[in-house]
Structure formats: structure tokens, C-alpha cells
């Protein structure tokens, strides 16, 4: 028993250290963003000056990132949900290959994808310099997450029988898709959407090569700020980024929880 207790405390201590490793820098950077002079510590006083500077210099990047992530979400919904539905309906060698292909932009480094896009469409002036060029990269990168998320939910329910019973009641394809399929994968669509927006907001690997001076996204601006400005401004900028992305992350965490208790309840109902 005693040996077990030692083991427990050792593991707990280790886990707490890992937590500290992950959370301490976040807290530090948040503090640095509102500290007058980080080198002198908190005694130098708190200020919103750095945040103001970020807002003045970089607010365009914030708006562009929000805009791109929302359009990216719309595109992934239109492309991804029907694709996931097809992949759930037909499970054969072909659809597995398609699934594998769709995931490739996640596996292949963003740098390579971005270069590929540049060498192919770099000459198309208007396209290359507009924000849609970045959008294409973001859609490629986030589409698999939407497809996976919806597909996971669709594979967990008995889609085939649900659709069969709807059609036995007279529902045509459109009615089945909008009244049965979509409502029943709402959870997957929501989870996928959160993922897509979060990833699009933070995408840097591709965006750094795809952007132009007029199409800087938030992470591009961050990299700029880290490289050229004082630590406090970089921190303040990071703080702004956290404020935007943390609600999304918390929503994702919340989504992954209650689903468990719901299935448990359904199991009891089956008794």
C-alpha cells in the first residue's frame, strides 16, 4: 500500500511539473503584455499601452484572420459535410483511398503545400495577391478536420437504417439529407467547425509563404512582432490572440465532455 502511495505522489508531482511547463509561459506572456517594463518586473506597473500599440499597428491582421477563418468555415462546410456523408455511406477501397488523400494536406508539411500553390498559381496576379490565395491554403489544411469530425459522428450512428426508415415514410433524398442526416451529425459539424476556425486563425506554416504585405494574418503579424519589436508588444499581441482563441478552445473542450455522459445515459435507457 505504501509503495502505491509513493507512486501516486510521484506521478502527481510529475504531472504538475508538466502542467507548469505548459501553463507558466502562457501566464508569463500574458503578464508581460500588460507590464510597463517586463525586465523590471511587475513593480514597474501595469499598462494597456502595449495592447493599444498592437491595436493601432496590427488590427488589420486581426480582422483579416477572423474574416478568413469564417469564410474558410463556410467553404469547409459546403465541401466537407457532403464529402463526409458520401464517405460514410460507401465504405469501400475507393472511399478509403479518397479519405486517405483528403488527409494528405495535414500530413504533408504546410511549407511544401504552400510552395506547390505558389509555383502553380503564383503567376495569376490578382489571385496571388488577394486574401483568397491564403484562403485556399487554409481550406486545404482544415478540410480534413471537418470531414473527419462529421464522418466520426456519421459512422457512430446507424445512418443506413435511419435513412431507410425515413424513405419508408416517404422522404425523398433532399428531405432525408436535411431533416435526418444533418440534424443527427450536428455535434460533429459543431466540433469540426470549432476546429476549423481555431486552426485557420492560427495557421502559419502555409500562410507565411502565401501572404503578401497587404494580406497579413494574425499569426504572420505575430511573427513580425516577435522578430522586430520589444518583448512587451509581442506579449500584448499574443494576449490579443489568446483572447480570440481561448473561447474556441474552451468550447472544444466542453464539447468533448458531455458527449460521454449522454451515451452513458442512452445505455441505461436500453436496459
Amino acid at each position: 500500500m505504501k509503495k502505491r502511495a509513493v507512486l501516486f505522489w510521484a506521478q502527481l508531482g510529475f504531472t504538475l511539473m508538466v502542467c507548469a511547463f505548459l501553463i507558466v509561459p502562457v501566464v508569463l506572456s500574458m503578464l508581460a503584455g500588460v507590464t510597463v517594463n517586463y525586465q523590471n518586473g511587475l513593480e514597474s506597473g501595469l499598462t494597456l499601452r502595449w495592447i493599444g500599440e498592437v491595436w493601432a499597428g496590427y488590427r488589420q491582421t486581426i480582422f483579416l484572420s477572423i474574416g478568413i477563418s469564417l469564410v474558410c468555415l463556410a467553404v469547409t462546410l459546403v465541401l466537407g459535410v457532403p464529402a463526409a456523408y458520401v464517405l460514410a455511406k460507401r465504405q469501400n477501397a475507393m472511399t478509403r483511398a479518397i479519405e486517405e488523400l483528403l488527409v494528405m494536406p495535414v500530413a504533408v508539411p504546410g511549407l511544401a503545400t504552400a510552395l506547390a500553390l505558389i509555383v502553380t498559381y503564383g503567376g495569376a496576379g490578382g489571385f496571388r495577391t488577394s486574401w483568397t490565395f491564403i484562403l485556399v491554403g487554409h481550406v486545404l489544411f482544415t478540410l480534413p478536420f471537418m470531414v473527419r469530425s462529421v464522418l466520426a459522428v456519421l459512422s457512430a450512428i446507424d445512418l443506413k437504417t435511419l435513412e431507410e426508415s425515413a424513405s419508408s415514410l416517404g422522404a425523398g433524398f433532399g428531405q432525408r439529407f436535411f431533416q435526418i442526416v444533418l440534424p443527427n451529425c450536428r455535434g460533429g459539424i459543431l466540433a469540426g467547425s470549432l476546429m476549423v476556425v481555431t486552426l485557420s486563425m492560427g495557421e502559419f506554416n502555409m500562410t507565411w509563404l502565401l501572404h503578401t504585405p497587404l494580406t497579413k494574418t494574425l499569426p504572420v503579424g505575430l511573427a513580425d512582432a516577435y522578430a522586430s519589436l520589444r518583448l512587451e508588444i509581442g506579449s500584448a499581441y499574443t494576449l490579443v490572440f489568446f483572447v480570440m482563441i481561448v473561447p474556441l478552445l474552451l468550447a472544444m473542450q466542453a464539447m468533448s465532455r458531455p458527449r460521454k455522459s449522454k451515451t452513458a445515459k442512452a445505455d441505461i435507457g436500453e436496459e
Partner: protein, 272 residues
């Protein structure tokens, strides 16, 4: 039946066209451009024949391997611990461990700077204790730290999900047969978690191979393949070599994931 097939085809078409036009076609073009430099398609061999590129490849592989092993050990210990022991504060710890899940590479680079940069916490503590400042953010060690930071949250989630599915009765059976705690760990728990380790490890590895943001934030001088490609592209304007190198990097990374997916037997949760 055929009407149904036509309908499904139509639903898949938009995603397919997009994918073809903006991924497969560009990749094919990238491949062609990679062979269009003065060395021709021999450029693809440069990654092993050119000493500089080869050393970058080796250090990238070493970094990725180290990151993977470290992340798996950390996540294995903490993930199984948090899944097995429900104590007050458990949920809070899980939230904290998975909080940085979707931080982009650049931000993670900055977190490393906050910890071990010129004004970093570790440096300050070392200064206070020994009178000497430790700064390692802008080196391979900093990059390693960043990649572990990046990989731990998602790996812990995978391990916890797998640990939850382990049948406790198998463990009880092992104990009833007289197995010690360590034997149970090595004979029951670790084999049970193997698919999750492979799946999560593959993603760690792929990320550490191809990630760019963290390295970019820390320093452009770190000798890893993504930085080399970036340098070839921007500073040397050597498009052909950049294309060849990135194509090889993409192929290697994709291959690692594909092999792991087959080995793990289940679908590896995609993650960036």
C-alpha cells in the same frame, strides 16, 4: 442504385475538384519544378548526396525522434495517471494539459522564448541560483522544447482516450495471477496502449519534421530541413531546390504517417 451512385458522386465532386485543382495538381507541378533546376531530377538525390542537406535531414530526423520519444514518455505517464486516478482537481489538470492544443507554431516559439529566451524565466532562475544566465531558446534545444510543448496536449488526449478503453478486468486478471505493479505496466498496460502510442507518436514525428513556425520564431539559423527549404526559397531564390527538398520532406512525412496508420490498425486522428 445507379441514381444513388450518381447522387453520391455529385456530392463528392466539389471537394474532389477543389482538392485536385489546389493540391494534387500543384504537388505534381512542384515535383516537376523540383527537377527543372540545373541538376535536373538529380536534385531529388541532393538530400542525401549533398553533405549540407544530408546533415540537415539527419538533424531533423534526430530532432523528430527525440521529440516523439520524450512526448510519449511524458504523455504516457501523465495520461494514464490522470485517467486512473480521479481526485479533486483532476479535471482542472486535464484542462490545463490540453489547453495549448491549438496554439500555432509561432506562438509556441514565443512560449519557449518566455521560458528560456534572453529575458526568460529559466535564465532568471539560473541567474539567481548560480549567477550565470542560461539561454537556450534560440538553438536546437529550444526547438526541441517547443515541439514537446506542441505535442504533449494532443498526445495526452489520445493516450487518455485509449487508457479509458483498457479493460480493467485484464489488469485484475494479471494481478490475480500474481503479477507485480511493474509487470502489469509492461505486460498489460503498455501493450494495450500500443496502438495509441503508435498513432500519437506518428503525429508527433510528422509535426516535428515539417513544422516551421516555431523554428521561424526562434531563429532562422537552426539547421532543420524546413528552415533550409525556406532559406533556399527566399534568400537563394533557388526554386528548384526548394521544391525538390519540400517534396521529399512531404513524401517522407506522409510515408511515416501512412506506415503508422497501417501499424496501428486504426485511423490515426489527423492533427496539425
Amino acid at each position: 442504385m445507379s441514381r444513388e451512385s450518381a447522387r453520391l458522386f455529385a456530392l463528392l465532386l466539389p471537394a474532389g475538384v477543389f482538392f485536385l485543382a489546389f493540391f494534387l495538381l500543384p504537388l505534381a507541378r512542384l515535383f516537376a519544378i523540383g527537377g527543372s533546376g540545373k541538376e535536373g531530377f538529380a536534385a531529388y538525390a541532393a538530400i542525401v548526396s549533398d553533405a549540407n542537406y544530408f546533415s540537415s535531414l539527419m538533424s531533423t530526423l534526430a530532432l523528430a525522434a527525440m521529440t516523439t520519444i520524450t512526448t510519449l514518455v511524458i504523455s504516457g505517464i501523465s495520461g494514464v495517471f490522470l485517467q486512473r486516478h480521479k481526485f479533486p482537481g483532476n479535471a482542472l489538470l486535464v484542462s490545463m494539459l490540453t489547453f495549448p492544443l491549438a496554439f500555432p507554431g509561432v506562438v509556441i516559439g514565443f512560449m519557449v522564448i518566455m521560458l528560456s529566451g534572453r529575458q526568460g524565466l529559466i535564465g532568471d532562475i539560473a541567474m539567481y541560483l548560480t549567477g550565470e544566465k542560461i539561454v537556450f531558446a534560440y538553438s536546437m534545444a529550444g526547438l526541441f522544447m517547443g515541439y514537446v510543448y506542441f505535442s504533449v496536449p494532443r498526445t495526452i488526449l489520445t493516450i487518455m482516450a485509449a487508457a479509458e478503453k483498457l479493460d480493467p478486468r485484464i489488469e485484475e486478471a494479471a494481478r490475480s495471477l500474481g503479477a507485480s505493479t511493474w509487470r502489469v505496466v509492461f505486460d498489460v498496460i503498455l501493450p494495450g496502449l500500443k496502438p495509441a502510442f503508435i498513432a500519437a507518436g506518428a503525429i508527433c514525428f510528422a509535426t516535428a519534421m515539417g513544422a516551421f513556425g516555431t523554428a521561424f520564431t526562434l531563429a532562422t539559423r537552426i539547421n532543420v530541413l524546413p528552415m533550409v527549404i525556406y532559406t533556399e526559397f527566399t534568400l537563394q531564390a533557388n526554386m528548384a531546390m526548394a521544391a525538390a527538398l519540400s517534396f521529399v520532406l512531404g513524401a517522407v512525412t506522409w510515408l511515416v504517417l501512412a506506415i503508422a496508420r497501417t501499424a496501428a490498425g486504426s485511423t490515426v486522428a489527423a492533427a496539425g
